[in-house]
Amino acid sequence: MPIELIKLIPWIPLLGAVLCGICCMKPAWRKAAGPISVLSIFIPFLITCGVYSTASGLVGDDKLQTVYQWMGVGGFKVNMGYFVDPLTMIMLFVITGIGSLIATYAMGYMKGERGYARFFMGVSLFIFAMTTLVMADNLVLLYLGWEGVGLCSYLLIGYYYDKPEAVAAAKKAFIVNRIGDLGFALGIFLTYMTYKSVSLSAVTTQASEFVANGIDPTSADLWIPFLLMLGAFGKSAQIPLYVWLPDAMAGPTPVSALVHAATMVTAGVYMIARLIPVFQLSPYALPTVAAVGGVTALLAGTIALCQYDLKKVFAYSTVSQLGYMFLGVGALSTFGGIFHLFTHAFFKALLFLTAGSVMHALAGQLDLRAMSGLRHKMPVTCWLMFAGCLALAGFPFTAGFFSKDTILAETLIVGMEGSTLFYFLAILGLLTAFLTAFYTFRLWFRVFMGPEHYEMGDEHGHGDDDGHGDDHGHAHEPHEMPWWPMNAPLAILAVGAIFAGMFFHTWMHESIDASTAHPIAVPAVDSHAQAEPAYSIIQVASDAEGHGNEADAAHADGHHHTLLGMDVHLAMQIISAFIALAGIGLAAYFHWLNRPLTDQIAKKFGVVVEVLYNKYYVDELYDAVIVKPLRMLGHGFYLFDQFVINGLVITVGYLPRLAGWSVQPTQSGKMQGYGLGMVFGVAVAALLVFKWAF
C-alpha cells in the first residue's frame, strides 16, 4: 500500500463524523450512524496495517508526510503534516484497532438510546482528533488534536445532558483540562522561543544533541518540561489534576472505555515519550514525572479499594495504571511506559465494556453491593471480565504482567544506581501492584462469585426489547449480551489482554528504539555523577536498560544489576507474580469465601473505609481551597461591578436628566409663554446688535 494513504487516516473519521451528523437529521437515517462510524474507524485501521511495513522503515525527511501548509506568519510556518515513525504506528494501532472494536460494541450497547447518531458523531470526531494528535509533526497540530480530544471528551461525558451529574462531570473535565492545557500552551510558546521551531523532529533532534553533548540546560530548558508536564498531568489524570476522570464515568460506558481508558488519557504519556529528549534536558523533570506517577498510582489504587461503583473502581484503576506509565517514562523507560499503554488499552477497554454489559443487563445498576453471583446469568461476560482482571492484576504471562514488570524493573534499576527516590518509587509500585490485584479481584468475586443476588437499576426502557433477540425486558432478569455486535469484539480484546504482552514484547522494544521516543544516551560523566544526582543517575540508568548493549561506554561499572542473584527483570517478574497471586488469593478469601469477615473488618476500620470511600476528601478539599475562594472572588467582583462600576455609569446617566430637570419649568406649554420668551430673546439680541453696531 502506498505510504501516502497514511495522510487519509485522520480525515476518514472526520468524514464519518460529518455523515453521522447528517444522519441526526432524519429519524430514518439514524440507524446508519453506527455502521458509518465503525467503518470510519476500521478503514484507517486497515490503512495502518497496510502501510505499516513501509511506514516503520521510513528514514529522514520521508517521515514527514505533509498534506498542506496550515498557517504561515513570517518565518513561523505550521504544516498540516504527519510525522510517521514506529511510535506513531503503535499509537495508530491502538487508537484505530481498539477504537473500532469499542465502536462495534457500542452499536449494540447504544441501541435504542436517544441521540444514537449524536453519540457516533462524537466517537468519530474523537478518533479524528486523537489520530491527529498522535500523527502531528508539530506541536501546534498536536495541540489541535489535544484540544479536539478534550472537546469530544466533554461532549461525550455530557452525552446524557438531562442528567445533572453528567453535565457537571463534563464541565469539570473540561475546566480541569483547561488548567493543564494552559501549561501545555505556555510550554509550546517557550519551545518555539527556545528552538525557533515547533516541528517535533526539529525540536527532538536539537534537544537530543544538547543531551548527547552534555550542554548545561538554560532556564528555558528547565521550564519547558514542567509546563508540558502540566498539560500531560491534566490530560492523563495525574495528581493534582486527576479529579475529573472518575467523574467522567457519567458518560456512556463505551466512551469510558475508548476515551477515558484506552486512548485519550494516554495522550500525556505519548507526549512525554515523544519529547523525551526535551524532558531529559531538565535534570528534575523526569524524576518529577516519575514521582507524580508513582504517588498517583498508589493513591488511586487505595481509593479503588473502597469504591462500590463498578465504573468508579475501573476509573481509579485507570488513574493508577496511568501513574505506572508516568513512572515508566519518568524512569526513562519509554519502552515500559508505551508498552503498558499498549497492553492497558486492551485490558482496560475490555474491563470497561464488560462492566458496561453488567450495567446493561442490570438496567443501569452499578453498585457492587447490589449484585453478586452473576456467573450463571452472564457466563460469557463473566469469563471475559476474568481475562481482563487477570491482565490488570498482573497475573503471570498476561499482558499487564509483562508491561508492569518492565516499568517496575526499570524503576528499581534506577533506584539501585543510587537514587533513593526511584528505590522508594519501585517499592510504591510493588505495593500498588498488590493493591491492583486485590481491588480488581474484589470486584470480580463480588460481581460473579458467591450467592446469586441482584437488584435491578432504575433505567427502564434502556434499550428494552430492542432486538436483543430476547423477549423479556430488562426489568425482569439479567441476561447475557448477544455475540454480535457486543461479545465478539470483547473476545478479541480478551485475547489481546492475555497474549499481547507475550507476542508484542520484542516488536514493541524494537519499535520504541527506532522512534524518537528512544532515550538519548549521554557520554559518561562519572566524576559529576554524585554531584548531580537526579540528572546523571537517570542517564546511567538509561544505558543500563539497554539489554544487549553490554559494551556501552556509559555503563559506569560495566555489570548488570542483580537482585536475589538474578537479572533484575527476571527477579521482578517473579516477585510481582507472587504479589499478584497474593492479591488475588486475598481477594478470593475476603470477597468470595468469607464475606462476613470482610464486613466485620471493614466495620472495625470504619474510619479508613470512610476516608477511602470519600476519595481522601480531595474533591471537598479542592472545593474548599480552590472552587469556593474563586467563587467568593467572583462574587466580590460581581458586587464591585454592581455597585462601583454600575453606580458610576448610572450617575453619569443622571447628569443629563438633572440638566433637563433644571430647565424644565420654562416649558409651560402655553403659547403666550413661548411668545414672551421669543420677544425677550429678540429684544436681547437686538440690544446686543445695536450695542456693537453703534
Binding site: 424644565q664 419649568p665 420654562t666 416649558q667 409651560s668 406649554g669 402655553k670 403659547m671 403666550q672 411668545g675 414672551l676 420677544v679
Partner: protein, 107 residues
C-alpha cells in the same frame, strides 16, 4: 404745490406708527387667549412692519420696500386662510377657542 399736513410729516412719524402697531399686536398676542384675537394680533404686527417698510421705501425713493410689502401681504393672505382653517379645526376638537387648552408641550 400747497403745503399739506403730509409734508410736515417726517420718517420718524411713520416709523413710530409702525412700531406702535407692532407693539400693540405683540401685547395683544401675549395677553389675549382667544385664538382668533391672537391671530388678528399677529396680523397687526405684520402691518406695523409693513408700514415701516413702505415708509423706508418712500424715504429712499425706491420701490424695494413696497415690493416687499406686496409680497408680505400676499403671503399673509394665504397664511390667513390656512390659519383660520386651523383655528376652525382646533375649535372642533375642544369646542373652545381658549389657547390654554392646548398645552401638551408642558414640560
Amino acid at each position: 404745490m400747497p403745503e399739506t399736513v403730509m409734508d410736515s410729516l417726517t420718517l420718524s412719524h411713520f416709523l413710530l406708527t409702525g412700531a406702535v402697531l407692532f407693539c400693540l399686536g405683540l401685547i395683544g398676542f401675549i395677553t389675549r387667549r382667544n385664538l382668533i384675537i391672537m391671530f388678528l394680533c399677529t396680523e397687526m404686527m405684520f402691518q406695523g412692519v409693513a408700514v415701516s417698510l413702505v415708509a423706508f421705501s418712500r424715504f429712499h425713493l425706491n420701490d424695494t420696500g413696497q415690493t416687499f410689502v406686496i409680497f408680505v401681504l400676499t403671503i399673509a393672505a394665504a397664511e390667513a386662510a390656512l390659519a383660520l382653517g386651523l383655528v376652525v379645526l382646533l375649535f372642533r376638537r375642544k369646542r373652545t377657542l381658549d389657547s390654554l387648552v392646548w398645552s401638551q408641550l408642558s414640560g
